[in-house]
Structure formats: structure tokens, C-alpha cells
Symmetry: C2
Subunit: 460 residues, 2 copies
Amino acid sequence: MKEEIIDSLKEISGADWVVSDLSQMGSYLYDETEAKLRPTACEDCVVVKPSSAEEIAKIVTYANKELVPIMVRGGGTGIVAGAIPLKPSIVVSLERLNKNIEIDEDNLMITVDAGVTLEELMAKLADNEKLFFPIHPGDEGAQIGGMIVTNAGGVNAVRHGIMRQHVKALEVVLPTGELVKLGGKLIKNNMGFDLMQLMIGGEGALGIVTKATLKLYPKSKYSGTLVISFDTKEEAASFVPKILQEGIVPLAIEYIERPIALEVAKHLGKTWPAKKGNVDIMIILNEATEDILYGKCEELVSLSEKYRAVDSLIAETTKDQRNILEIRSNVLTAYQETIAEGLDIAVPTSFVPNIIDDLNRIAKKYGTYTLCNGHIGDGNIHNFVFLEDGKVPDYIDDMRAEFYAAALSYGGTCTAEHGTGRLRKQYMSLQFGEREIAIMQGIKKVFDPNGILNSGVIVD
Amino acid sequence: MKEEIIDSLKEISGADWVVSDLSQMGSYLYDETEAKLRPTACEDCVVVKPSSAEEIAKIVTYANKELVPIMVRGGGTGIVAGAIPLKPSIVVSLERLNKNIEIDEDNLMITVDAGVTLEELMAKLADNEKLFFPIHPGDEGAQIGGMIVTNAGGVNAVRHGIMRQHVKALEVVLPTGELVKLGGKLIKNNMGFDLMQLMIGGEGALGIVTKATLKLYPKSKYSGTLVISFDTKEEAASFVPKILQEGIVPLAIEYIERPIALEVAKHLGKTWPAKKGNVDIMIILNEATEDILYGKCEELVSLSEKYRAVDSLIAETTKDQRNILEIRSNVLTAYQETIAEGLDIAVPTSFVPNIIDDLNRIAKKYGTYTLCNGHIGDGNIHNFVFLEDGKVPDYIDDMRAEFYAAALSYGGTCTAEHGTGRLRKQYMSLQFGEREIAIMQGIKKVFDPNGILNSGVIVD
């Protein structure tokens, strides 16, 4: 990296916060993208750790003038190569933008610096008696800014939807360097085109989020977890829409095939509580009173019996609930060494039985198998491609394309929550027509005429 | 309008569905914008009433090639001059795009042609035992397509938010003529930039919505309406955040100053039930069981006593509830002859007492007064500017600018739900910086390089 660039960054953020030595820069060049699938990072980079939005505005203004690419870095928990610099770049890490967390009880909102992690936000809210924030994408090391630009999903989408529904206001540095405020602590706001909606899910290609205001919700203090077992995948999947149609809206409805549950439990030295059947639906309820909680648990159990469940159990103690949740949360960890990739398709909830059939059929065609788990209550299935002899199988691209085609045939999407990044970008043309992609490229150009920011993410 | 344009439209949609005679075209040239404030429509227009999205795509392709402006027309219920042609234009009316309404019980969604009115959608859902659609902007003549492009709000936003949160998929004709599908019956979908979000609230300047899929919700069968009275505006407004913080999320929380309630009741030949105090908060609850409903009513009454309410009454019968709602819904009708304008600001809910003070103070400064009513639970206040001797007062622009400045000083917006259209466009620079407006203009250009569609709406 040119000395003059390094010097300019030192002038803006101070010499202590500029890293250009490769030995200290390593952890800033990759995110959590599968090592066997990720592109190789460009090592000719410089990392800067600004402490304010104003510093970031200066850095971006400088980079835009000098035409130096910027790669923005949040918690680095992404898995679609959205935070790996591929050209000589300034890596702007938001880790020091984590000072302010303000709870606004009157408006039921929280305003945080973008570098605040989900863990820090949850810790702050744990001290608050009344309010909670519902979105939980799994890795609590994720930063709030990153969760916004990737429109994070996670397990609680059944009741609470995704990040987009909870972002009320953003402070953003535009790719041309201006620091702007979008949105507000408002429920209704119809002035102009809603640029904030483009920032959400824009994967940092349209601006750097530096501060955000999020909606909070009254805490429901009573929670219970049900594990309902079925003999077949079809029966399990078909049960899900019945729950929602009864007017029961759980916090989460998860799907886990028994071989996965047992493998993960073994990996963690724990026991999976369900014995009968082959597939489990895990339901997390979160209610205002104990009576409502028990009423809903009972209603769910009797509903499940009507729809061919072979067993059901209710975990009420914190310990039992945590055991189940921990097994569910560690699926990827337990399979890390054996899988090439965990996919992220979604289909309309009613088509989950069909897509699970299709995924299994397609894998079989390639002489392999897949295992599915995921957020069945919102139609988002994570299925695995396994390594063969420790290597990424040759057929992975073809098989993945067939998985995607199957999802799209039900009106689904190639990526429900992981995002487009650089890994999924090549599949955009499966999901969009030429004109839509041209419009996306045009929008990128409008925000970022010089293509400075997160270049190659979503669009070229 | 040139004969060749009229002939081309006749070829696409059939001669019966093309109207170029001014005497038959009158009702297509204006919307519900206040007659005294609206711009004068250009009469050199032709109205076409296509019966399918494909016909619309042909019309737009033709218009884009021949550079003829298009003004899209839904139910014509807008009030910011968003559907008034100002240049010689093809007025595309969606009234015949109203054939299909499909309820998808498994996915809790409904798919409708864009020209279906809210009244038709509600009638269809009235026959369904389980599901309902929550957004209600007041005028049931509004078409669903129009409700989407204006991101409609209304009374139920406290619990259910605005239109944006309920739109899952759109079929859209782009300004360059392509017919595309955006979104899907999905809860999570992170492929590419989310162009659907730009269509929502885009006021038809970025595309013509021809079909839409909306989220539905389990019906809560028990509803009750409370009217809680306070002596002062401040006390009434301060009570609202307390409700939400208790974890009670009503369907609606409305604010109505007593002189308005009495005037509207008189106009309708009805009686407003509250006697004590000077300001009323009207709360609509909608719950799954009768027990929950009564529990929440009682909780609200005792909470209101804690916060200085002087009286409260609960309407349980359908008749009593309808009486109150009818008075609330007819505020604009009752004042039609006496007001120049009803404004549409919003502020964070906690600042409602402050903004109501400010609005009164500003009006007084101009030697007049204002009256407020509106969706206090979501921070959206409609306040009146009165006519003087039947005329729009000279000071209206100055006073309006001061109202807006006050709302913005609390982080609010000039228009919460009515939209930007052409009437509010001149105030964009109060709310956005130059670069943001330039980006909005750039986005318009990307979608609509020839500026064919709804020209002058939101951006020039």
C-alpha cells in the first residue's frame, strides 16, 4: 500500500489506529466464509480503525478523491465473502465505533453506534426490566451495523421478522463522503424515496452505517420450548402452517433432522431429549404470563397430535431450554470439519415439505446425501453439502445450481439471510432479469460513482 | 392529444377502453387533493383502461419509445396531487385490473390485482373465518396498488405498522416497459438490492404495480373501544407511551380534541359519548379471547387513572363502537368546507405533547388557531389550517413551513402517510440534504431514463 495513503489515514485517525504490517492485519482480511470456498484476499491493504463517524467521512472523502477502494468491516461474521478485500484496499474496521448505547424508553427504541456488537446490545438490555430486541442471527459477535447492511435474520423471524422491520433511523457515510441521517424515530414517514431501505441489506455497497436506531419490544417474561417429533419430514413440515393458522405465533419454529440433532449433541457431550420419530420441530414460546404460556403449550401439543406427531416434550426450566437451544445453535460448529458448505435457500412455508424432498433427491442424483435444518417457521432451510475425502466435491457448482433452481421453482430465493456478497452474486441472473440487474448496477453507480465502497459486493 | 397516440392505445386495449373526450374524462384528471390548493390539470390527455399487466407493459413500452408522459391512476383518493396530469399525458387507470383475489391460507397471504379496492379486499376477507388484513388508511375506495406505492398508513399502525411491512411480492411494469416480479411469499430474502422497497412509497414514479401479495394475520375476534378523557392536551399525550411500555399493544390509539369530536358528531347527527375533560384518547383493542380483552380494558382504565385521566368509558357493543369510530373517521368530511388544508406531520411519540403545543403556538402567532386529531399512538398528527372568509389565508405557506420546521426539530417528518406527491415536494430540502435529493433524482433516472412515469412526483 502506498505510503501516502497510509500517512493520510494516520493523519485522520492517528498513527495508533492504522495497521499496515501484514502480520498484524491477518484477521482483518477474511470473514467466516468457508475457507475452502472463499476467494483469496489481497494482502496489499491497510487497516484503519476510526473512532467517529466524522473520521469515517474524512476517510471516505479521501478515498473517493484518490480512487482507493474501501472494504468495510464489522464483526467479520459474514459467510458470503462480503468483507474480503480482493484489490489493494483501505479496510475500515468499525470496532472502535462502540461507545454509545442509548435506550429511549418513551419511544421504545435504542440508538447504538454501528460497531456495538449484538452481545453488547443484549447485555445492555438485560439490565432493562421492560424492553428487549428480538433479532438474533446466531453469532453474537456480529456488529449492529453489519446486521443492518446484511438485513440479518435468524431464529426469531417467525414472530419478529428480520432486521429491516426494526431499523428506524440510520446515520450513514455515503460513498462520496457525506454524513447523512436517514429515517427517524417514526412509525410513519413518507417523504421522498426511502433511501434507508436501500442501506438495509445493501451489504455496505451503498454506504457505511455509523449509527442506528432500532425498535424495542416489551419483554415477555415467560418462555418455554417444545420439541415435537414426527416419523417423516413431510409430516413435520406440514405441521408448521397449522400452528400459525391457529393464531399461535411462537418466537421461533425450527426444523432439525434427528441425525443432525444426535451428531451435534454428541459433539457437545449433551443429550438430545427426543427419542421417538425421525424429525423434530422445536418451538420456542415467549409470553406475557405463565397462564398464557401453558395454555399455548397445551394447545400446541393437542394440535400436534391431530397432525400425526409421535411424541412431544415441553422444556420449562432454563437449564433444559438452554440444552436444546445450545444443540440447535451449534449445528454448524459440529459439522465444520465435514461440510463444504451450508446453503441458505428459502421457499414459501407451505412448500417446505416439497423442497426438502427435492434437496434429498438432487443430492442422491450426485451420489451423495444432504441433511437439512433451519428456520422452518419462516421457510428458510439450511442444507449441507458434504466434503468427499476432505475435499470440496467436483460437482458442487452443478449441484448447488440445482438446489437453487428447485428453490426458485417454488417462488423461493437462493439466499434467505446470508446475503449475496461475492459468493452468491453469480446466481443473481437465476433470480432477476437483465433489466433488474442493470437497475441494481445503476443504483450502485448513483450512490458510488467511482465504485469505491465494497467493490464487487452484490454488483460489479 | 395526437390521434396516433389515441389510435395506438385503442389497438392495445380496445376502442371501448380509451377515452379522449374531455366531457367523459373529467373524473380522471383530479384526485382528492383540496380543490383550493391543487394544481390545474392539463386537459390534453387520453385515458386508457387496460385489463391486464401485459397491456400495461405494451402501453408503457409505447409511451417510453414515443416519449409520451404517463400518469398512473388508482382509486384517486390521494391528497398531495400525485395523480393529476400537468402535461399532455396518457392517464393509465387500473380500475379494470381487479379480477383476481386469491387467499393463500397455508402461507397466510393474499394475492390481488392492483386495481382491487380496499373495500373489495375486505369483503373477500370478511368471508374468511381465520384471516384478516390490518392496514386501513380511511378511504376504502383506495386501490391496493395505490396503497402500496403510497405506503399507506392509517389508524392501525400502532400494532400493525404501515403498508411496507405487509408487502411480500409485487408484479411491476417498469418505466421502460418490462414486466417484472419482485419479492416473493418469503419472510427472508436477501438476494441483491431490494428493489421492491423502492416501489413501496415510490408513488408510482418508479414503476406501475400490477399485482401484489400481502401478509395476512389470524383474526382476533374480540374487540373493544375505550374513550379516555383528560383535562389537558399534555396529559392526554403523555399517557400514550405508558400504554405501550406496559406491553399493551392496541390496534389503534387515536387523539381527538373535544371541539372536533363535538363538531363531527353534530355534523353526523350523532352524540360523542365523553362529557368530562377536554381531550379524548380513543383506544381500539382487538384480542383473541374475551378474557384477554376485558383484562386489558381494566388494565388500561386503572393505568389511565394513575396518569390523571378524568373519565373513561368502554364501548363493547358493535353499535357503540361503530358510533365512536364513525365520528373519528369523518373528521375531514365534517370540516371539508371550513379548512384550507389538513396537515400530516409526525414526530417521535414521546414528543407529541411538545408538537401539539408548538402547533397551537405557531397558529396563534398568525392570528388564527388550529385543531389537532390523529394517530397519536404512532406520532402522526393531522392539524387543520382554517379558511378565512372562505379563502385560503395569505400566510398559509409561511405557517406551514413553521409547522414543518417544528416537526423536524423533534426528528419528525413533514408527511407521515399522505406522501410527497407534488404538494410536499417543495419541502424536501427541509428534510434532506442536497446529496440525498441528488441520489433520489439519480434513482428516478436509473428506473425511468426518459422521465415517462408520473413525472414531477417526488422528484423532477
